[in-house]
């Protein structure tokens, strides 16, 4: 039987302060987006964000412990068996653990569209490798992501970061230029990102 307890899922501590427990990736689910979250360093369970970019409806179910959700500025303390459905993708939402054992299952997708695996899943999955300097592993995960989502600017940017750190300036510059051309935001980020210290003086560096 293909099963896992939430405590046995991978625990990927994100720099933002929450712990990502990949569910969709663990089971190879293709039909919808789903992940679990437990508290990280700053007690967040659900990262503060909106779904404006993806247009996803999202539902957060408390599986264990207590969580204080703040949705569109309103606080709601929820316990096991309680859920919040955020229909409007533009609403800011965040969940903070009120107990150490808190666990939340999130389900999301865009109404009327077949589910596409979100690019952020690959960037999240590459994150611990990047933090630990495991450049080969980070590259493998991001290349897998770019195969699934060709040309995704955020993954191209992250791949460029990894390659710059790993001492592969030519690859890094190719991918950074592609990311900056696809989305101006990444051209701006690149100007101050320490990851690019080794290639910033190169004439090919995007300005």
């Amino acid at each position: 039987m293909n099963l896992a307890h939430i405590d046995d899922l991978d625990a990927i501590e994100m720099p933002e302060g929450f712990t990502w427990r990949p569910v969709r990736r663990r089971f190879g689910i293709r039909a919808f987006g789903t992940n679990a979250y437990t508290p990280g360093a700053n007690g967040q369970v659900v990262e503060e964000h909106t779904e404006s970019q993806l247009g996803h409806e999202e539902l957060y179910l408390v599986l264990r412990g207590r969580v204080r959700f703040t949705i569109d500025g309103n606080d709601h303390e929820l316990g096991p068996g309680q859920l919040v459905f955020v229909r409007d993708p533009s609403l800011k939402r965040v969940g903070v653990a009120l107990t150490d054992d808190a666990a939340v299952l999130a389900v999301g997708g865009k109404p009327g569209q077949a589910h596409e695996i979100s690019a952020w899943e690959y960037s999240f999955a590459a994150s611990p490798h990047m933090q630990a300097g495991r450049w080969d592993d980070a590259t493998r995960v991001l290349r897998e992501g770019l195969e699934a989502k060709p040309g995704d600017p955020a993954m191209l940017y992250n791949l460029a970061c990894v390659e710059a750190r790993a001492g592969k300036p030519d690859e890094a510059l190719d991918h950074l230029v592609a990311a900056a051309d696809a989305n101006e935001r990444f051209r701006e980020y690149a100007q101050t990102d320490e990851d690019f210290a080794s290639i910033r003086d190169d004439p090919r560096f995007p300005r």
């Binding site: 039987m1 293909n2 099963l3 896992a4 307890h5 939430i6 405590d7 899922l9 569910v23 089971f27 190879g28 689910i29 293709r30 039909a31 919808f32 789903t34 679990a36 996803h56 409806e57 539902l59 179910l61 599986l63 264990r64 949705i71 569109d72 709601h76 929820l78 096991p80 068996g81 309680q82 859920l83 919040v84 459905f85 955020v86 229909r87 409007d88 533009s90 609403l91 939402r93 666990a103 299952l105 389900v107 999301g108 997708g109 865009k110 109404p111 009327g112 569209q113 077949a114 589910h115």
Partner: protein, 213 residues
Amino acid sequence: MSSGYEILSLDEAEAAQHRGSTLIPIRHLLGFEPAGINAWRADTGGQLIPPHEEDSGNEELYAVVRGRARFTVGEEEAEVPAGTLVFVPPEAFRTAVAAEDGTIVFVVGGSAGEAFDAGGWDSFALADTYRQAGRLDEAKAILGQLITEKPGNWAVHYNAGCLESLAGDADAAIEHLRRAKELDADGVSAQYFREDSDLDNIRDDPRFQELLA
């Protein structure tokens, strides 16, 4: 359903009876669109998930929210505590029984590569539960909503016909069933018309006999 977000407590939500199980029709109650979402609730020994395969092609993820559940998937059995996730591919047989009082299993389903399109079985289960409880206005409101959302879907009209038949309104039942038959280009409904006990109240009506012809 116009507000930007909504809180739902599975303990307090409306529940429906469906194939010997107690269903919390989350998708229906919230109007969630990207996937099918429901929960099942039972006390020790009670059936949580009605035995089935997903002929719809849906992948399903089950999450034990509270208590303990004994799952059967294919030939395998496992009794698992709250916090356990179980993934079941469409073709696998699955069922689950509660191993503790107040057990709740949450489920998400959808088909890979396809936009989710709710068939409405969960809405109909709630409508039928309302009907059995004598809450006919609420039952009819759900069917009315389904017909508005899916005007060309024969099964929705057929289910509305069943509900009206059971509720004793032969005129309304015949009207819905006539529409169902018109829409059912492949004639899939003929067998249901012949055999469904939900229609026994109107079986002797000459107008129903015409629909059988």
